[in-house]
């Protein structure tokens, strides 16, 4: 399965899972990153390692338009540059201290990150709305099979509980796949709950398949 072959944008989180003033860990092409949303609602992404002592920045906290490291409070702006070092309050941090900012886009309720600078926009997800994100301990192929759906550029399209769904799949590690689930825009809350339950079943089947293959 060649995932997302035509676009440099990688779908890594659902907008609703990162409210204003929060940070989450994510994996971009097997590299750990932090995705955070400022108080004003701007989404940012950067490496998940504080240049000071290597602490995961996703353990940190968002204040205003900045991300702070939990360890010694080094504070980073949306451009990734260190703005403030609490232990040396009068020092203006040199521009070389930064946390590796990444290009990020938010579109159709999905947060997309690119490894390199790109001019294009992420692909559109017409007629769909985000539901939930799950991690499968399985390869994308096993998820395709378990869902009974068809392969599309971004992952899998299938019908679940009578509703059209789309699974954006992203391999994070061997036998570990992030799955962002989108459903038809018109899906009712009740049907959303049904689909969420049915997804757990797809995960059980996909993981069972992966285990069998691992044992063989």
């Amino acid at each position: 399965m060649r995932l997302n072959a035509s676009s440099p944008w990688i779908p890594l989180a659902l907008s609703g899972d990162i409210p204003n003033g929060t940070v989450i860990p994510a994996t971009l092409c097997s590299k750990p990153i932090a995705i955070w949303r400022s108080q004003s609602g701007q989404v940012n992404a950067n490496g998940n390692r504080c240049p000071h002592r290597g602490m995961r920045l996703s353990h940190g906290f968002v204040r205003g338009e900045t991300l702070s490291c939990i360890y010694h409070g080094w504070r980073f702006g949306q451009d990734g540059a260190c703005q403030h070092i609490p232990a040396h309050p009068d020092v203006v941090p040199p521009a070389s201290i930064n946390c590796g900012p990444l290009q990020v886009a938010e579109q159709d309720g999905v947060i997309w990150v690119a490894e390199d600078q790109v001019e294009s926009q992420p692909p559109r997800l017409d007629g769909l709305k985000p539901l939930r994100s799950l991690v499968f301990c399985a390869e994308p192929e096993a998820i395709l099979t378990a869902s009974g759906g068809t392969e599309v550029d971004l992952g899998v399209e299938a019908t679940l509980a009578g509703t059209r769904i789309c699974l954006l799949l992203q391999g994070q590690a061997p036998a570990e796949t992030l799955c962002l689930v989108l459903v038809d825009q018109a899906t009712s809350p009740k049907a959303c709950a049904e689909i969420s339950r049915a997804l757990e079943g797809i995960r059980r089947r996909a993981e069972g398949e992966t285990e069998k293959r691992g044992a063989a």
């Binding site: 989180a13 659902l14 899972d17 409210p19 003033g21 929060t22 989450i24 860990p25 906290f61 968002v62 204040r63 205003g64 702070s68 939990i70 504070r75 403030h84 609490p86 939930r132 994100s133 799950l134 991690v135 809350p189 959303c192 709950a193 969420s196 339950r197 757990e200």
Partner: protein
Amino acid sequence: MILYDYILSPSCYKVRLMAALIGAPLELRPVDFHPGKEHLGEDLLALNPAGSIPILVDGDLILSESAAMLAYLAGQYAPDWLGEETATSRAMVQQWLAFAHRLTAALGGARLVEMLHGQGDLEALQTAGIAALRELEAALFKRRLDGGTWLVGESITIADVACFPYVALAPDGSISLDPYPSIRLWMRALRGQAGFVEMPGIHRRHELAPDPLTPAEGA
């Protein structure tokens, strides 16, 4: 009310956290759990023959189960935290209190193996822990669909407090919390409650304190 307490015990923390959140007075009596094994000494075995901590003593009442302690504190000082007085709500609170035992066995078990070189099948404990976290994530996602934040009903209950510590400390047992966005949001809401207290491994939300870089108004 005296709590026989150990700072690194998530079960003791449940009771400290509950008391702090509802403003209940609690006298702490530190127990030398490790390395002293004071909980297995004559004095504490006389209070609790099971040899476990926490132990809560209030006059003649002696409790040795943390879920019972949460119910007692809430009953005394904040009955709202017991949930609504409907059959469904009461059953759901009991459901999550019992579920919290699974968290203790699986996530707590993995944590003991990893942190205190305890005995046990780490892989089996982690597998059971992940199964429990997935169940919690699915339930909390369902609550989000309904516009809810907490495990039961419209406001926080003892069910949330009972489940929170071992979940938050899952990484101590080498179990990642990264795959669970709904659990992350639920923990964030709990850590944002007035009166929230920390324990080693569970920190407060620093962004809720005034920004030291922003001069206070009127200063």
